[in-house]
């Protein structure tokens, strides 16, 4: 299946959904539902979608569909989407959509610079060549940390709060466990509880 075929299938899925919903109270799918259909194809359909939007297909889309596409592009959109998003921002007649298109276009325009810089980092280049998912994710996170001054600060805040929560809980746990647990054990358990669905791979993002 080519990316274009996948994209056309996603549009067909949406049309089918619309047909199913015609008589419902909510006569049309929600943007969230449309976004979920697109997201089933992950990033593969981003390019044909952006090309399609660039040709002005959005002029014939209703707000629920365009809202779903924008939501999808907020995860998988690239800097190529900036131009059609700006067009939507300025010309689509629904205020809510204009606001969403502007926010995403602003974000993707910033992203363009960040991605260009991060791709220059040798570790990132090596990781991409390796194709190892874990290595790629780590290298890219560290790459972003190098070019985004806020990133380490935000990560540090989360880490600090996690340790603080662990430290706050530890005296009581220590007493209950008769000294059989270390604070590191508590911290690890906290991470597992808080991020269980991500680390186990069963949850949505």
């Amino acid at each position: 299946m080519t990316a274009q075929t996948d994209y056309q299938q996603a549009l067909t899925d949406i049309t089918t959904l619309v047909s199913d919903r015609a008589q419902d109270v909510a006569a049309k799918p929600t943007p969230n539902e449309v976004s979920q259909i697109f997201c089933r194809y992950q990033g593969t359909i981003a390019t044909p979608m952006i090309e399609d939007l660039g040709k002005g297909s959005w002029k014939n889309w209703e707000s629920w569909q365009l809202g779903g596409a924008i939501a999808y592009l907020s995860s998988y959109g690239t800097s190529a989407a900036v131009a059609p998003l700006r067009d939507i921002e300025q010309n689509y007649p629904v205020t809510d959509i204009q606001i969403q298109a502007k926010a995403l276009a602003d974000l993707l325009a910033t992203l363009d610079v960040a991605v260009s810089e991060a791709k220059q980092i040798p570790q990132v280049q090596d990781a991409i060549k390796s194709g190892n998912a874990d290595q790629m994710a780590r290298a890219m996170l560290l790459g972003l940390a190098q070019i985004d001054p806020d990133w380490p600060v935000r990560a540090s805040e989360i880490q600090t709060k996690l340790f603080a929560l662990s430290a706050d809980s530890f005296p009581a746990i220590n007493e209950m466990a008769d000294g059989k647990l270390s604070q590191n054990d508590v911290t690890k358990a906290l991470v597992e509880i808080l991020f269980e669905d991500v680390t186990s791979g069963t949850g949505t993002p």
């Binding site: 909510a26 629920w64 007649p93 205020t95 949850g203």
Partner: protein
């Protein structure tokens, strides 16, 4: 030199002009001038000029005074020239005291009359009808009377138009209006920052049929000249409001000014005086369930059984009312006018390709909101008009609304018309409801909402459009309460609660019970009956019941299965649920009855309770006022996004595929009623038309129908316990309504008679909104 005395006497009378200017001019000498100010105690004033003997011209001018021009006065020594002044001016009048007659008392010159619009028994400020019905002679189908520039027939004249008058006032010796005098009529916003007032009110050149607009939406200018000769001794103008208060017109008010031009006083264009009338558009009031139903609307569908059941139920009321079948499938496409600049154009909602087509559309409730408007009528009566607020929904029924429903008896107002607000499901009328009269007690004092309070749902994907929200808020009478409907797939407040009447003579603010959907109650009923009736079947038409002539249960369809029927034992067990959640064409996610049960009892119940708590903080509501109605919900779609610890129902386990996340939160579900959603009912006069829940059916050949539904029985017993004689009619709406995520309430609408405030609150002032309100 001579002492030349000018003695002026102003006439007796009630007028507000008191200053004149005396001017003596001569070809040979410098001009002499002075100003005199009269008081009620000193109507005669003199001024002595020390002037040279010779020929002088005398001019006396003043706002509201007929000018005196006396030329070639030969001054030869001391003399006195005594004149009796005439007062002539034009004043503006409206029905300020709301008795149906234009008040002829002269307003305070240069000030608003009244200064502030006030309500209560002695309130002041003319109330102008929002003339949004269709009396005839309109521009076209879909046009209301106030969407064209003329008076639409005699009935419109009597019932849809208020009056405004210009009256010539004169005091003292008769005088002729000088030829240079002129009048101008102006309309302005009463509050700075609001849109031009001629977009909100229209003034006609008279009060006859076909009188035409002189100031209004189609008049570019906000000020126009009025011919003094045409005005004569008095001229009456018709006035209507083009819209209710709302976006860009939050106050609902305007000021209408009469400008008196006297060139000899202030030049040819600058007014010498103003009279200003302060007026307000009539308000729109949403109907609540304590008002008597006068007509019920439902789509003329193929579901004859449902239609007949509903018609029979309406006819069985002690105060019966007719049923009108809406026909969207044959209603021609009908344009919806909106004001574009100074012209009425055809509206297409943002992002929509054109008008809805003619097709079936059963959602009467979602199309519009039942309400009315009232105002003091001409001649002393009260005018009242049923007015539906058109919801910002762009679907087939809209054509029927504008083609058929809009008529002499029914007005329609569309707050979002002409805006760029998005169409979404949160805009629907099913997401806008009204409490009966309620009271909010404070530490000191109370706030009484005698017309009830509007409540609507906020959904992060489909919240009520901005224009409709502003419209509801600007009516300033039924202060809206915002509930959370993120947990619902459709997202309408009628899916989780409604009010029914209760007899409580001692407290007019508690003559109701709040019915709330409760999964916990549903499961408790099943647990209570597990031993005795574990095989009682849910989600099936019982044997030999309407819709099922067989001797077996006929299972009902639900997402993923043609037969969703299951027993109490199933629902309380841990087997696999035959339904699935997810986007129907895309995914099928199996889950267990145990997951469904925990999610319902600990998740759905919690989010509904949170909404009840919002109601508790908005008005006096205790648990004793609440009836919990058994309903089981199912997950329908899953929401994207990362969840946090507080989004989990139990923090000790994971998301459990969404079943451990509170509905409506990230990674959680949006849901719909699985069993018939009984609170989503139609509240009639002494009957409740309740969607059949198809809850657990206990076979019992010793009773009528050879059995009974435990959920129906539970609700019916609770309604009987209210003790006010409400009858429960359980109606099968599964196929055409429930299966499409709606119920009887969603599929009906109604008109209702005015609430009798006098009976409820013991004082006739509470019959009309303008006397009922304080301040």
């Amino acid at each position: 030199m001579a002492n030349y005395t000018v003695q002026l006497t102003a006439p007796d009378g009630n007028y507000s002009f008191n200053r004149v200017r005396i001017s003596l001019t001569s070809a040979d000498h410098p001009q002499q001038a002075c100003e005199l100010t009269f008081t009620p105690q000193a109507r005669t004033k003199t001024h002595t000029f020390a002037i040279a003997n010779g020929t002088w011209d005398l001019k006396v001018t003043g706002a509201g005074f007929a000018p005196i021009n006396e030329a070639n006065i030969n001054v030869a020594g001391n003399a006195t020239n005594a004149k009796n002044l005439s007062v002539i001016f034009y004043s503006l009048h409206s029905d300020r005291n709301r008795d149906g007659t234009v008040d002829i008392a002269i307003g305070r010159q240069g000030h608003r009359t009244p200064e502030n619009i006030r309500f209560g028994p002695n309130g002041t400020g003319a109330i102008i009808p929002v003339n949004c019905n269709q009396d005839g002679g309109n521009t076209g189908a879909g046009y209301t009377d106030n969407q064209d520039n003329h008076v639409n027939g005699d009935n419109d004249l009597d019932s849809g138009i208020a009056h405004l008058k210009i009256i010539q006032q004169s005091f003292g010796p008769p005088a002729i209006v000088p030829p240079g005098w002129a009048l101008r009529l102006r309309i302005s916003p009463a509050v700075a920052g609001e849109a031009a007032a001629n977009r909100h009110f229209r003034i006609f050149d008279g009060i006859a049929n076909n009188s035409v607009e002189v100031l209004g939406p189609e008049t570019v200018a906000t000020e126009i000249p009025q011919d003094i000769a045409t005005v004569g001794a008095e001229q009456t103008y018709g006035i209507e409001a083009v819209r209710f208060a709302g976006q860009g017109f939050e106050s609902g008010r305007a000021i209408i000014s009469l400008l008196g031009i006297q060139p000899e006083v202030s030049g040819p264009d600058i007014p010498a005086y103003f009279f200003i009338e302060h007026v307000i558009a009539a308000r729109w009031i949403a109907n609540h369930h304590q008002q008597t139903v006068t007509r019920i609307y439902v789509e003329h569908s193929n579901d004859d059984d449902f239609l007949q059941s509903l018609a029979a139920a309406a006819a069985a009321e002690n105060t019966p009312y007719p049923l009108t079948a809406a026909t969207p499938a044959i209603a021609p496409q009908t344009n919806v006018p909106y004001l574009n600049g100074n012209a009425w154009n055809n509206f297409t909602a943002a992002g929509k390709p054109g008008l809805p087509t003619a097709a079936s559309d059963q959602w009467l409730r979602d199309t519009m909101v039942s309400g009315y408007s009232s105002w003091p009528g001409n001649g002393g009566g009260i005018e009242r008009q049923d007015v539906f607020m058109k919801a910002h929904r762009w679907h087939h029924l809209q054509n029927w609304v504008y083609q058929t429903l809009l008529n002499h008896d029914i007005g329609v107002f569309y707050p979002a018309v002409g805006t760029a607000d998005a169409i979404n499901d949160g805009n629907s009328g099913g997401n806008i409801s009204v409490t009966p009269p309620v009271r909010k007690s404070h530490l000191i004092g109370t706030t009484d909402y005698r017309f009830g309070r509007i409540y609507y749902g906020h959904h992060r994907e489909s919240t009520l459009d901005n224009s409709s929200r502003q419209f509801l808020a600007a009516q300033n009478m039924q202060a809206p309460i915002v509930l959370n409907v993120d947990w619902l797939r459709v997202g309408h407040v009628d899916e989780m609660m409604t009010f029914v009447k209760a007899n409580n003579p001692g407290n007019p603010y508690k003559r109701w019970k709040l019915l709330v959907a409760s999964p916990a109650t549903a499961y408790q009923i099943m647990r209570d009956n597990q031993v005795a009736h574990g095989n009682a079947t849910l989600l099936a038409r019982p044997p030999h019941s309407p819709g099922n002539a067989t001797a077996n249960f006929a299972g009902l369809p639900a997402p993923g299965t043609a037969d969703a029927s299951a027993t109490i034992t199933d629902f309380l067990g841990n087997g696999v649920v035959p339904m699935y959640w997810g986007i129907p064409v895309m995914e099928a996610n199996a889950y267990s009855y145990q997951q469904l049960r925990t999610w319902n009892i600990d998740g759905v119940e919690k989010v509904i309770t949170d909404n009840v708590d919002k109601m508790k903080s908005a008005f006096d509501l205790s648990n004793a006022d609440i009836i919990k109605v058994p309903v089981i919900f199912i997950p329908e779609t899953r929401i994207d996004g990362a969840f946090g610890l507080t989004d989990k129902i139990s923090i000790w386990t994971g998301a459990d595929g969404g079943f451990n996340i509170y509905p409506g939160r990230n990674s959680g579900f949006r849901s719909s009623a699985l069993t018939g959603d009984m609170p989503n009912l139609f509240s009639g006069n002494d009957h409740l038309f309740i969607p059949k829940p198809f809850g657990p059916w206990v076979v019992d050949n010793t009773v009528a129908n050879n059995g009974y539904d435990l959920f129906e029985r539970d609700l019916e017993q609770k309604i009987v316990a209210i003790g006010n004689g409400l009858a429960c009619d359980f109606i099968d709406d599964w196929d055409y309504y429930h299966a499409h995520h709606g119920e009887i309430h969603c599929g009906t609408n109604e008109t209702r008679a005015p609430f009798n405030g006098q009976v409820a609150f013991g004082n006739a002032r509470f019959n009309n909104w303008w006397t009922a309100l304080d301040g």
